[in-house]
């Protein structure tokens, strides 16, 4: 198959899967088989696309001319490829996990859940392939809307409130700031195509560049740069598989992916490097890193702690992109991948603990490793990766971000990274310590490990965390191409 049809099939497969799920809603086994089939097809398509992109191919499909000069179009480049790979690899894994979770917790509305889940992946892949800002914006908004039923899955008052916050922040920022930023880009450049080296010509002033960047960074609410971060903790009312795949991987990464993409392909790293008006971004990102870590430190709810950790880690990517050096851009791209697999492992573990032991608070986890050794093992590896300790994948991306910071002489950024590593350790290590070394508080309450599909999913992601440390050069191949594109 040609790369073009592979791209279309990769986006179409989850949509068809969702339709199949709705059609087969009375047959759980068929429904889940269809989910897997769709996930498998999407994964196969994305994997098949990877070699051609690695060898310099940039397949392109134009679907529809929406506005004159701005079509609904896909064009695959290394950054999008990387993001698509993350989403496509983790989707089947989390489908496996979701089956265990949804059955284990007797959740209602499972057909709707799996259908929306698949559609969210379709939107994510569409966003990863987007050839211009208009296409990206379209899938960005669709992703918000399609994940709303997932966030409000339980349909109670709490879910309704969280849904309002979720939509309010995400649509509020994108429908105002991001739309204005895109239209302004169009007005200035006459195009919204993603182009290596950026599309902003020489006409736009220093201050205007800064303003435009602010509109983008705060308009892309999914990147959760403070103060646009509140929706992420709110979204934690969703079932854990949603938090795991969407609010640790697809949705939030769509946000930082968009930010990186805008900085690299709209502004152009070289175009804005050295402009005084963009200097504020590393500080905002740095502040978010530290502040979110501090909040995570004090959160007792496990998912809430993970959510704030996500906010902090997302700003790593923003910070790395904002440093505007080739090495830091590599770091940003790598961190999208490494944080995704690390964080999904942690959420899987949190969901496993909830399913098996019905525990949600950090303070309840004393001694739990004795009952759930596999789960806590996965949790430990994930946590190490996020802290950035070898032999976990997170070490790599952090290493490149720090190299980039040093290369650009951003000593403040280096300090932030160092401090935040300490904070990461401070909020993860006590959990691990308590789980392994404290005596269980409620010995009377018997429970064992989580259901096998959840364990299997965790095993896969844990393996990935470790494997990427050993085989990082594959990722590096893509990331270096992005940096090459940024420089050229």
């Amino acid at each position: 198959m040609s790369p073009q049809s592979l791209m279309l099939l990769a986006v179409a497969a989850p949509v068809l899967g969702a339709l199949g799920v709705v059609a087969a809603q009375r047959h759980p086994n068929l429904r889940e088989a269809l989910s897997f089939a769709a996930a498998g097809i999407a994964l196969a398509c994305v994997l098949a696309l990877a070699p051609s992109v690695l060898s310099g191919g940039r397949p392109e499909v134009v679907l529809l001319e929406i506005l004159p000069g701005a079509a609904l179009a896909f064009r695959l480049e290394p950054l999008g490829m990387l993001f698509a790979l993350v989403a496509a690899v983790l989707w089947p894994v989390s489908t496996l996990y979701s089956i265990g979770y949804m059955r284990g917790n007797d959740e209602l509305h499972q057909p709707r859940f799996f259908a929306c889940f698949a559609l969210a992946i379709a939107c994510t892949l569409g966003l990863a392939f987007a050839a211009n800002l208009l296409t990206l914006f379209l899938f960005y908004e669709l992703l918000t809307l399609i994940t709303y039923p997932l966030v409000t899955h339980h349909q109670d008052e709490e879910a309704r409130h969280a849904g309002r916050v979720y939509l309010g922040y995400l649509m509020g920022t994108s429908l105002t700031l991001m739309l204005i930023a895109i239209v302004a880009t169009w007005a200035v450049a006459g195009t919204v195509e993603f182009t290596p080296g950026g599309i902003l010509g020489g006409e736009i002033s220093n201050a205007a560049v800064g303003g435009l960047l602010a509109l983008f960074v705060f308009g892309i609410g999914k990147a959760a740069v403070m103060p646009m971060h509140r929706w992420l903790p709110a979204a934690m009312v969703a079932p854990t598989p949603v938090s795991a795949l969407l609010h640790a991987v697809a949705v939030v990464k769509a946000g930082v992916f968009s930010v990186v993409k805008v900085i690299v392909y709209i502004f152009g790293v070289d175009r804005i490097a050295g402009l005084t008006s963009v200097d504020w971004l590393p500080f905002v990102a740095g502040f978010t890193i530290i502040a979110a870590s501090v909040v995570a430190l004090r959160a007792d709810n496990l998912k809430r702690r993970l959510a704030y950790s996500t906010i902090s880690q997302l700003s790593y990517v923003v910070l790395a992109a904002a440093l505007l050096t080739p090495l830091s851009v590599i770091g940003a791209a790598l961190h999208i991948v490494t944080h995704a697999i690390g964080k999904i492992t942690l959420f899987f573990a949190a969901g496993a603990i909830y399913t098996a032991a019905h525990k949600t608070q950090v303070s309840e986890l004393d001694g739990i490793a004795r009952r759930m050794p596999w789960t806590m093992g996965a949790f430990t590896v994930g946590a190490l990766s996020l802290i950035g300790i070898p032999p976990a994948a997170g070490f790599f991306s952090k290493w490149y971000i720090m190299l980039g910071a040093a290369q650009g002489g951003h000593w403040a950024a280096l300090t932030v990274l160092g401090l935040s590593t300490l904070l990461n350790a401070a909020y993860f290590l006590p959990i691990i310590y308590a789980a392994y070394f404290r005596a269980p508080a409620d010995a009377a309450h018997p429970h064992g490990e989580a259901p096998w599909p959840m364990l299997a999913a965790m095993a896969v992601t844990t393996t990935l965390v470790l494997a990427f440390f050993c085989a990082a050069d594959v990722l590096l191949g893509f990331a270096q191409q992005i940096a090459g594109g940024a420089a050229g």
Binding site: E141, L142, R164, L167, T176, L177, A187
Partner: protein
Amino acid sequence: MILDHLPALQVVVPLMAAPLIVLLRSGRAGWLIATLVSWFALAVAVMLFMRVQSVGVISYAIGNWPPPWGIEYRVDALNAFVLVLVSLIASVVLPYARTSIAAEVPADRHYLLYSMFVLCLCGLLGMAITGDVFNIFVFLEISSLSGYVLIGLGRDRRALHSAFQYLIMGTIGATFYIIGVGLLYLMTGTLNLADMTVRLAAVEETRPVRAALAFITVGLSLKIALFPLHVWLPGAYAGAPSAVVAFMAGTATKVSVYVMLRFVFGIFGVRLVLPDLHLLDMLMIFSAAAMITASLTALFQKDLKRLLAYSSVAQIGYITLGLSLANNDGVTASVAHLFNHGITKAALFMLVGGIVLRVGTCQVDALAGLARRMPVTCFGIVIAGLSLVGVPGTAGFITKWHLVLAALQDGQWWVVAVVGASSLLAAAYVWRFVEVAYMQPAPADAVTRSEAPLQMLVPACAMVAACIYFGFETSFSLGGARDAAAVLLGGLR
């Protein structure tokens, strides 16, 4: 050859159909004739649109009296577009109307309603097609008078009072318009639009011309329901039969906007309007006020039809805002939004009509858990609602894009902020419905599943599909609007 007489057929056929329906005295025959007439009108409008695209402006002299003495029907890119919009909405609403009207209006009045419906259609088409300013007044009154009757046929007695209020306000508006036309006639000695434009150049600095501009603007603003002259609209929309609102919300105010576009750009020209009169600045402020206050009011309505009516007032603000920006993208946005909002609002009111039929009320609080009972209707409202908000992939987004672009080109940052705020408010009032319909549990005694009848659901869903379709395929809506903007602004360069 018959093709040469298309402009006349566009108006004459609905005009003849109205008395025919009354003579037949049968609701069923009336509906059938009305539907066929609307389809015929659509066919004629589409043919006119294509002819304008291929051969340019079509001028048709009624009774073979040559303009500027006789009445001229003049079709260019702008009004061909409006003709398609009006007849399209009529031809989708009428198939829908049969079931809806049967449920809401006593059977002995059906034929009268359909007669008034085609008369209203005739008036709106006539307003759009004619090139004579006095003729516009006549058609305006034809459409308005039949409109008052249609609204007064609502099943609730409050509709009568709404119709009366609308009659008073509408007549004042039309009379203001005719005063302005009279002053223009006194100054130029012509009633032909094209001729007036030429002759006005010699006298445009005089006081009567300015007074005429003021009278016409205020008069049309009343018909458009531009804030703060919108007070008649919510009552009228809330009281009228659902099919009637679906039609009028999509067309009546839109055609008046068209007339305003003609006057502001075609006759007076930005030369006069812009520099020292600040008319456009005032329009901009009122439009912005409409977008914010009407959206806020909509947020607190308890009746779904009233909510949508206030939303209409806000959306009319989008249209006049584009007009007031007076640059290419702004006018394009304005004209495109005539179409995009027309189909969106028609879809919404048609779906709400289904709710009224099944639930018996459209009080928002009574609709808890409706999504389980009427899943297609509710989903349709969500999609059309997203188009109202201007989410990408829907028709509303196309307009908003151009509106923001126009404001940015003009350097009007506060306008950009107003557009943003207004779409957030739109999201809020759409989401009020979503939360009630999807999140709240249905009352215990609720019927499990009762979707609106197919005769209503299919046209309504076709309209919803159009909201999506025109969000992606913009060659008609946007291309047509672009050509229209070129016509309007062409004389200025």
